[in-house]
């Protein structure tokens, strides 16, 4: 009996002593943390894609908790998830239009002029040598840097051309910075029709190196429901994304070079081998 009492007393005494030491240290070196940040981080998808504009999910969580941004800025989370975070913090989830990436080039190997290239198989390295060895100085050089950067495997390399699959793309924008030709733009997900060309060169110069370049014939501009749906900038036509055209424009415009495409059909390979 005495043994048990002594043991209990001894252990309790030791425990009390150590607790005192820990308590003192904790007081001396106190660090304030907000436990909500950790909780919110756990509620986020954790892919660290950076699509929200912050360094990663933890950084984003911190920004939400501090009120610098809203949960909806996470491009990966569904509305259910963002609502849950908003509920937890007692804030609104916010609203955001869904965007997807578009690679503004239709120049696969079959329809463009290219030189044989020998070197690092990476777009940003390739453009340092002979501008990417493609006839067109503005087109997709096709070494898959964007496809490798995509955390969701939404970009497929097809015949030397990066093609975005709209149904897989969540619009995080990780690919945008990897393109040395700045071909990738984030566009409203609701818009399906795009001009797959980014070359400001004259039509004659473009057609010499690419069979699917926009030659600024303006057929699409005229065919559109109203003139402002397409914008003309020099020798290049583009969607006016604040007043976008609807999908039947591709049917109506009969683009002679098939530069005007539907993103969904482009991804399905409907325009391959055009004007060959």
């Amino acid at each position: 009996m005495m043994l048990i009492i002594t043991a209990v007393l001894f252990t309790a005494g030791l425990g009390a002593l150590l607790a005192l030491i820990i308590g003192a240290t904790a007081r001396a070196f106190a660090v304030e943390t907000d436990s909500r940040i950790e909780t919110v981080t756990e509620m986020l998808p954790g892919v660290n894609c950076g699509g929200c504009g912050y360094a990663g999910c933890a950084d984003f969580a911190k920004a939400i908790v501090e009120g610098r941004t809203l949960p909806v800025q996470c491009p990966v989370s569904t509305s259910v998830h963002t609502a849950r975070i908003a509920e937890y913090l007692g804030i609104t989830a916010g609203e955001k239009e869904k965007v997807i990436a578009v690679v503004r080039c239709g120049g696969s190997c079959a329809v463009t002029v290219r030189s044989p290239y020998n070197g690092v198989s990476d777009c940003r390295s390739a453009v340092l040598v002979a501008g990417g060895a493609k006839g067109c100085d503005f087109g997709c050089v096709g070494f898959a840097s964007c496809a490798r950067a995509c955390p969701f495997d939404a970009i497929e390399m097809r015949d030397g051309l990066a093609v975005v699959h709209p149904e897989l793309c969540i619009g995080c924008g990780k690919c945008v910075d990897t393109c040395p030709k700045n071909l990738i733009v984030l566009t409203p997900a609701a818009v399906d029709v795009h001009v797959y060309c980014n070359s400001p060169e004259k039509g004659a110069v473009k057609t010499k190196v690419c069979k699917t370049a926009c030659i600024a014939c303006r057929k699409c501009v005229k065919a559109a429901d109203n003139e402002t749906q397409m914008t003309v900038n020099g020798f290049l036509v583009a969607d006016n994304y604040s007043n976008p055209p609807i999908s039947d424009l591709v049917e109506k415009a009969k683009c002679p070079t098939k530069a005007l495409r539907l993103a969904s059909k482009h991804a399905a390979g409907a325009y391959e081998g055009v004007s060959k």
Partner: protein, 442 residues
């Protein structure tokens, strides 16, 4: 100074292949019907075009004026009509603006600059202004405006003329030093006067003994010393040349003037002499057209704007299809995919490389043999940096001092795994620069 050839640390010894064209005297290329003059021929700001389509121009007339301190004017290579101002293939395989001049066949000088015969007593500022007006750039390859180097903001005590021509195949500077020996030395003396120096030193690689002895014969008349350099690539790189001749190390990211030196190419020196004594702007240069596939390799005096297809035609065309067409030498030159590129002020060579000579980059894994470390004249670790770049770790590459790399290509030359080291460094530098710009924006 001793007569022992001067050298630097590291470097490689590629087959020099200069025999193809070293004994061929410089020929003047015949007048062509059309010249396409690329507007931006210098490092720094592009000049601003001052002519328009349909204008009649005389030889030497201003086509584009400088747009700032680090910029040079451009002059017409012959008399004729401006028939187009549009894009043409540039030396980096990307289209660049160019001025097309259709020659009238008269080749008539406009009003050239007033010759300054009495340069010994002329005001250095006037001489320097002449260098600015004549549009002279570093003709060894870089195309850096010469007058910028002549305006040092730090005290300078040594003027170095670069006659190393360490690139294999190229013989343009060699022929120049041999055939226009006095012009080279005269240019050196004028440059020295501009800098307020008494003397200049000219460094020549030991594989050009005829040029060295000829320079030596006249050098004392111009107060110039001739120094033999060891045959070692990249002996002609500015920092290596300065180290070999003076033992001074140019700091990373620094300029030769940081160690009291100014380096000018021998061809630029001749251009300076021409501008001062004859009043001619920089509109022509000596270029070596060479390579095993070429029928008649040799050295020609081309006007700027000459398409390289014409240059190759002059050399008799090719015997077999070459694998590569380069502007410049095989170690640092730029591969071309068009024959419509035109000769620029810094085109030291037009080189056609046969299939068997071409380095095929295969990116086999690094076996860490350390040959690149031994070869690197800048004492960095090419193998490690390349691995960092392969894994997109640019911060690591920066820590490893990739910024010091002069892209001489010695590492890629010796690599037994055929790794594209040099391209990796280019990428790393570009990414580091982009990251810095992005940070500055923020």
């Amino acid at each position: 100074m001793s007569d022992k050839p001067r050298k630097f640390k590291g470097g490689v010894h590629p087959e020099d292949s200069k025999a193809l064209s070293a004994s061929k005297p410089v020929q003047t290329a015949p007048l062509l019907g059309k010249y396409t003059v690329i507007v931006h021929q210098n490092i720094g700001a592009p000049p601003e075009i001052v002519v328009k389509k349909g204008d009649l121009v005389k030889k030497g007339q201003l086509l584009a004026k400088a747009t700032g301190f680090v910029s040079v004017p451009l002059h017409a290579p012959t008399s004729g009509t401006v028939t187009a101002i549009e894009k043409c293939p540039g030396p980096a395989c990307v289209s660049v603006p160019a001025i097309e001049i259709t020659a009238d066949g008269q080749d008539e000088w406009g009003s050239p600059f007033e010759p300054i015969a009495d340069w010994q007593n002329a005001d250095p500022a006037v001489l320097k202004q002449r260098v600015v007006d004549a549009g002279i750039v570093g003709m060894g390859g870089a195309g850096f405006p010469s007058h910028v180097k002549l305006s040092p903001t730090k005290p300078v005590d040594t003027l170095i003329l670069n006659g190393a021509e360490c690139e294999p195949y190229l013989t343009a500077d060699h022929r120049l030093m041999l055939e226009q020996t006095e012009d080279v030395l005269l240019g050196a003396a004028i440059l020295a006067r501009i800098l307020g120096l008494e003397t200049a030193v000219i460094g020549v690689e030991a594989n050009k003994p005829d040029a060295i002895s000829k320079l030596n014969a006249f050098a004392s008349n111009y107060n110039v010393t001739v120094q033999t350099l060891a045959v070692n690539y990249p002996q002609g790189a500015e920092k290596q040349l300065i180290y070999a001749l003076t033992g001074r190390e140019v700091p990373i990211g620094g300029l030769p003037m940081d160690v009291g030196c100014v380096v000018q190419n021998v061809a630029s020196a001749v251009a300076v002499a021409d501008a001062v004594i004859k009043g001619h702007p920089s509109i022509e240069r000596i270029t070596t057209v060479t390579g095993e596939p070429v029928v008649n390799p040799g050295n020609w005096r081309f006007r700027i704007g000459t398409p390289i297809s014409k240059a190759i035609e002059l050399a008799g065309g090719v015997k077999v299809q070459p694998a590569k067409l380069l502007l410049g030498g095989p170690m640092m030159g730029f591969a071309q995919n068009s024959l419509d590129v035109t000769v620029m002020k810094n085109t030291s060579g037009i080189l056609l490389i046969p299939v068997e000579q071409v380095s095929q980059y295969t990116s086999e894994p690094c076996i860490r043999c350390g040959r690149c470390v031994e070869a690197c004249p800048m004492d960095i670790l090419p193998a490690t940096i390349s691995q960092a770049v392969e894994n997109e770790r640019f911060d690591w590459a920066e820590q490893l001092n990739v910024a010091a790399c002069i892209e001489c290509g010695s590492c890629s030359y010796v690599c037994p795994s055929h790794r594209p080291l040099n391209q990796h460094f280019k990428r790393a530098k570009a990414e580091i620069l982009a990251a810095k710009r992005k940070q500055q924006k923020k």
